[in-house]
Symmetry: C2
């Protein structure tokens, strides 16, 4: 029997419950220990890039453009790394600031400095404002929301549509001068895998924000992270903002965490030259320079956009079967029951499942009982509170496919069980 | 003629002025371009550690204690790195948090978090306090003072003595609850090269501060950085603070910036386990993990304290002749004139010259004219203002000895010229 739960009789649902519960108990008895919680690359992906470990071997290897990267200095990073990121993002090298191993840190530091010192066009540090609000398209990235929450920012949830955030709502809300910014993951959004449409991006770049220091946090985490099909060009947000008369509104972030090594990559913050000058005055107090040796390793290893995209194809070959496994299980086991919906992303690191309201927490509790750890329910919403208790983020990159098969069996069984419990309650 | 300027007649001083001015003009004509501004290791030192570049070569090399350091995770760092730093500092591994390539960043982030979120024993974030004061032994490290200045902290200069900060003054000032902390470089202090005496350290550890969240910033930057003679053991400040009933008062910082590579080392923040737990809750919002691959490189390369100290002997063999050169010039050219005094450090990265009042700025302006760049006058004092206009920091580590000879000729000539100008004015 394979029809929507909503179309079934009470007796049919009870019979289904018995079947599903028996399968759940069988799975539980296996005492599995599986993890689909975070977007961590798998070992096979890490092994792809081993040559980066030895790309610098001698003192001579450590000199680039006459600069010895081993020593102190060059706060904004080496030019060769700026050039590489500019080619990947479509911006200019002089708009790139090269950070350490985590773009998250560059994002945190940007928000932190807005609070303690203010941004280029701030009238005062945000900590001196009575109220600071931030627009949070959701479901979104839990670590973004944690940053703004940590600084006491009031977060306003913006619904996601298949073309990006609900722009009518965004355009209306930015008329409020206490709305100081917005989080965005524009390409293969975390977690839905949605690519913002051209129209959405242009409307964002052209926002008429009342706050003079409105901060567009553009986390282009998956800028070259197609796992299905070819690289999709994506317009440079810095250019669009400049053309729309908002040259200093956007800070774009990216990294090689899911290109080379997650714990030892290189990050970039791209923003206008005026913003760079302003931020460097603050950043020079925090550090003398980020790790330029590792930046040079990346430049020598990745070389250019063409070579980097070729590497991404190898990642894609590893990732695609994992995503296919997730989508196959959902299509076969869940789709006919009409108890959840999801996007079918072609890039990024997640599949985001929206269950019928009220099922997410219970589904994940059952998963945990059966030995499968997933991202916590609610994590994809501001304050960790999903108003519909509906969104579940599946991160299939870490486990091998065989483990994923077992984990998805558990997940689908738990989702069915939660839906049946609700219907029979 | 080689007697104190103060003992000479006006005619003798005029004759000396003519001699010195002629020599100055000769030096200026050489159009030198020399730099003694920052404590940067020289190329010969960087070349000592080239093997660290290739110490990790394969995926298997990147696994330690069952952990793959290439992937995300382990916010506080790998245990092997904690063990290494604990052995070097004399604290416990669980008291160590392993950071990125800059201890300065860990220091900045500690002060930043005190302001935005408060410390473990803070009643509120420091940004909500009407007044925050910090004790600044001076001359001291300009980058320390820039951090507290950047957060609007009122800095109080504490005179340095040959045994460390003036502790009678410190003990008196900490009775003020708005005095929230103190900067210290306890071993081979920047710039004087003074080693705090046992009594000073014990008095610091036992401070009865009125502020419940008094923050002792213990920058042990030169903990193993003897360039003359053997490693000098130094008591662990965490233990002393704990024994004195101040277990959570101290945050100690160190790094391998002047052990391996200045731009690509590993840093550590050592503090009580309770402080670690508290800080990790804040740091987990800022980053997923620091670069554990580079931390493991350091562990495999440095191995243990014995091996690390053997490496420091090699650094010492390069540095000692440079410091000797500086001290020889000062001894021969300046000492008899009685226009300046200085310590004779056995470790650290600086020689700190205290001129007769009113000579520092003019001396450095003359040096610049003659092509020798030095740390800016006043930099070693809070707000960059040396009340006596007297302290000059010499950083001899970067230039080869031949260049140092030329630079010290310039420096001594300029100091004499400044003194003569003042006497003849």
């Amino acid at each position: 029997m394979n029809t929507a739960y909503a179309a079934r009789t009470a007796d049919e649902l009870k019979a289904e419950y018995t079947l599903v519960k028996t399968h759940f108990d069988d799975l539980k008895a296996k005492a599995l220990k599986l993890n689909m919680a975070r977007g961590k690359p798998g070992k096979e992906q890490l092994d792809l890039v081993s040559d980066i470990l030895t790309v610098l071997q001698t003192p001579e290897d450590c000199v680039v453009d006459g600069l010895d990267v081993r020593n102190y200095g060059e706060l904004s990073g080496i030019n060769a790394a700026k050039k590489l990121f500019a080619e990947l993002l479509g911006c200019k090298p002089e708009e790139c600031f090269i950070g350490g191993n985590a773009s998250l840190t560059l994002m945190y530091d940007t928000i932190a400095k807005a609070h303690t010192h203010g941004l280029l066009h701030s009238e005062k540090p945000w900590c001196k404002e009575e109220k600071v609000k931030f627009l949070c398209p959701a479901p979104g990235y839990d670590r973004h929301f944690k940053i703004t929450e940590s600084f006491g920012v009031e977060m306003i949830t913006i619904p996601m549509t298949p073309t990006g955030p609900d722009m009518d709502l965004v355009e209306d809300l930015v008329k409020d001068p206490t709305v100081k910014g917005m989080w965005c993951v524009p390409k293969y959004s975390n977690p839905d895998g949605i690519v913002y449409s051209d129209e959405t991006i242009r409307r964002i770049a052209g926002l008429k924000a009342a706050a003079p220091d409105f901060l567009l946090m553009w986390d282009n985490a998956y800028c070259i992270h197609e796992f299905d099909g070819d690289f999709q060009p994506f317009d440079d947000i810095l250019t669009l903002c400049r053309e729309a008369g908002n040259p200093d509104m956007v800070f774009e972030f990216a990294s090689t965490s899911k290109v080379t090594l997650p714990g030892a990559g290189v990050s970039v913050m791209a923003t206008s030259v005026d913003n760079q000058k302003y931020m460097e005055k603050l950043l020079t107090i925090q550090t003398i320079s980020y790790d330029k040796v590792n930046a040079l390793r990346h430049v020598k290893y990745l070389k250019d956009k063409e070579n980097t995209l070729a590497l991404m194809k190898k990642h894609a070959a590893i990732l695609k079967p994992k995503f296919q496994c997730v989508l196959d299980w959902l299509g076969k086991e869940i789709e006919p029951l009409e108890i959840a919906s999801w996007q079918k992303p072609k890039g990024g690191y997640f599949v985001s499942v929206n269950t019928a309201p009220g099922l997410a927490k219970r589904t994940l509790a059952l998963c945990k009982e059966a030995g499968v750890v997933m991202t916590g329910a609610g994590a994809t919403f501001p304050y960790g509170k999903d108003p519909q208790d509906s969104n579940i983020r599946i991160a299939p990159s870490l486990p091998p496919v065989a483990e994923l098969e077992a984990a998805m069996d558990v997940f689908c069984t738990c989702l069915k069980l939660a839906a049946l419990e609700q219907k029979l309650a």
